[in-house]
């Protein structure tokens, strides 16, 4: 059985269920208390769990993440929030070098069951430092898991897995999906970290699309279907761990690959995937690997120009049509 709820509500459910279940789970972040978060993600939790478990912090991102690590090392299962995913840069040392490497460099005697929530994506005029999708910065971050939920079901299931994980997880919901409605299973469930989701089956080409781009990819697949091209659409659900096998398997059948993400193409999440496919599945490829993403520029503040930067459904379509030209 299932219900239809919003992405944001799904996130709140995951948080509430885990806090209810485990008293060592607590949250901290900027404006997550009475205000319920600037995107409403924690609304109601302060009233329900109180000030001691839903903690408003100072504007101190290195402290927020670092204290998360410290609490995780000492018997808690903290959830910390960076108000915008762009601020991973502010706490980069704490994420990349502290949370991710602590266990390894101290000989595996401690765990770091930390969840870092950081809403990402462009949502209409918040500018170059409040609109980024920074997941690709963590491709090289051994020790960390990184997930990007595209649906309410995944938002809830991945977040619950993140909180239960004994390793640090960077959970990057997309701000633009906050109000997205979707089916969510009844009762407790988990979506495993690092397992891709084949959202649509198809035999002519594979589209791997992250987060908000998944929905544009599905629309593109609809249009392609009308032209007789059957696209398989895969949501990788993040980047670490990455389900390369699922993509290789798909490409082995389709021979064509489009990678679609909101971050710039240059240095975006797609490059590592393209590189792996170019090594592991080159012989299956019947056409160049195409990447769809933003141009190699910052996101302008002006909504008018921002719209020209965030990749659109049409660009996925064009990339797909280009490499499927001989099929139609």
């Amino acid at each position: 059985m299932s219900r239809v709820i919003k992405y944001n509500v799904a996130i709140r459910e995951a948080l509430a269920e885990e806090m209810e279940r485990d008293s060592t789970v607590f949250m901290m972040g900027e404006d997550i208390g009475v205000m319920g978060g600037v995107f409403g993600m924690t609304r109601g939790l302060y009233d329900r769990f109180g000030k001691q478990r839903v903690i408003d912090t100072p504007i101190s991102e290195t402290m927020i993440v670092g204290a998360g690590v410290g609490a995780a090392l000492t018997g808690c299962r903290p959830i910390v929030e960076l108000q915008y995913a762009d601020f991973v840069a502010v706490a980069m040392d704490e994420i990349y070098n502290r949370a991710a490497k602590w266990r390894y460099m101290h000989g595996g005697r401690q765990n770091v069951p930390l969840t870092i929530i950081a809403p990402e994506g462009a949502v209409g005029g918040v500018g170059p430092e409040h609109s980024q999708c920074p997941e690709a910065l963590f491709w090289s971050c051994a020790g960390l898991h990184v997930v990007t939920p595209a649906t309410p079901a995944d938002a809830k299931g991945l977040l619950k897995s993140a909180i239960r994980s004994n390793d640090p997880v960077l959970f990057l919901p997309h701000k633009g999906l906050a109000a997205l409605q979707g089916e969510v299973p009844d009762g407790e469930y988990f979506v495993p970290l690092g397992k891709a989701n084949t959202v649509r089956k198809g035999k002519h080409l594979t589209i791997v699309a992250w987060s908000a781009m998944l929905h544009k990819a599905l629309k593109a697949a609809d249009v392609l279907a009308e032209k007789g091209i059957e696209a398989e659409v895969i949501d990788p659900r993040g980047i670490r761990p990455f389900d390369f096998d699922a993509v290789v398997e798909s490409v082995s059948r389709t021979g064509r690959l489009v990678l679609a993400h909101e971050a710039p193409v240059r240095g975006g999440p797609g490059s590592e995937v393209a590189a792996v496919i170019a090594e592991r599945a080159l012989h299956y490829l019947e056409a160049p690997i195409m990447r769809v993403g933003a141009p190699d520029i910052p996101v302008p503040q002006s909504v008018y120009l921002e719209r020209m930067v965030v990749p659109r459904m049409e660009e996925i379509l064009a990339a797909a049509e280009k490499i499927c030209a001989e099929l139609v």
Binding site: M35, P58, I59, H130, I297, P300, L305
Partner: protein
Amino acid sequence: MAETAQDKRLDFYEAMQRCALWEMRLLQMVEEGQVSGFYHSGRGQEGVQVGAVLALKPQDYLLYGHRGCGYQITRGVPLDAMFSDFLGHIEGPTRGLGAGTIHIASPELGILGQAGGVGGTYALAVGAALSARQRGTDQVALCMFGEGTANRGTFHEAANAAGVWKLPVVWLCENNGWAISASFRETTAAERIADRAIGYGMPGIVVDGQDPVAVNAAVSEAVERARNGGGPTLIEALTARLRGHYEGDAQRYRAKDEIETLKRERDPIVLLANVLLEEKLATQETLDGIQARVAQEVDAAAKRALQGTKPTRDRIFQYVYAEDHTP
């Protein structure tokens, strides 16, 4: 004899009105959907912004806060250019790229800009002051920020460097008691932000931010000390945020009557008007006259700005680099 801050009160009044009336017109544009709602109203903080910015000399540097546009307006960015920026028109300082919150720079006016990550400008102020020293000029850098932003580690690193190098920086904290929904007391361990000054080897001063005269005097003194090699100062101006953090903020975290009381008792424009009237430095007609004149100025600027031009798509690719190195 040097003009003292006392004599400038009518100028301060006019300058504060300009900030407030410009903003009022901007909020109308927000309401009409011409401009995005990510605007952080400066209503209530005109006293700090006007008093401080008018303490600078033309050659000085300004790194402003995100609260309203009193800083840039008072420093002399034309009102129509300010509107144009928010409208995303090419006539604005960011030539159509910016819009919404503010990344307005004006090298001619020494306005260096603002970071999207609050607390991103502290170190830039250190750099500007260091640069002045390297180049042998007498420039001073004024860096303004909110009390919430004072808890960023970047402040610590920058303040210590400015202190130990005795750099010409004036740190000015606009303490309005709120950082979005977080109250000063619940997020800041210091009794006063100015108490942190001793840890950076500089004077720490608290001033009434609703009194532009007091702010101007304090900042002027700090600016002159900095200019004369006396090093940095940390000033904390106690002020009030009369609207939400941004437009549309329901402010459930704030007691209902707090804002009403503040509006009644701590509006810097009303306060200065009362003083001017009481001390008979102006009649109500004079004040009304000023307001009407500024309102007209604002209106005319808005009209000009609204006739501006949106950029074409090629704009998004410009200005990333100063030089093209495409191989």
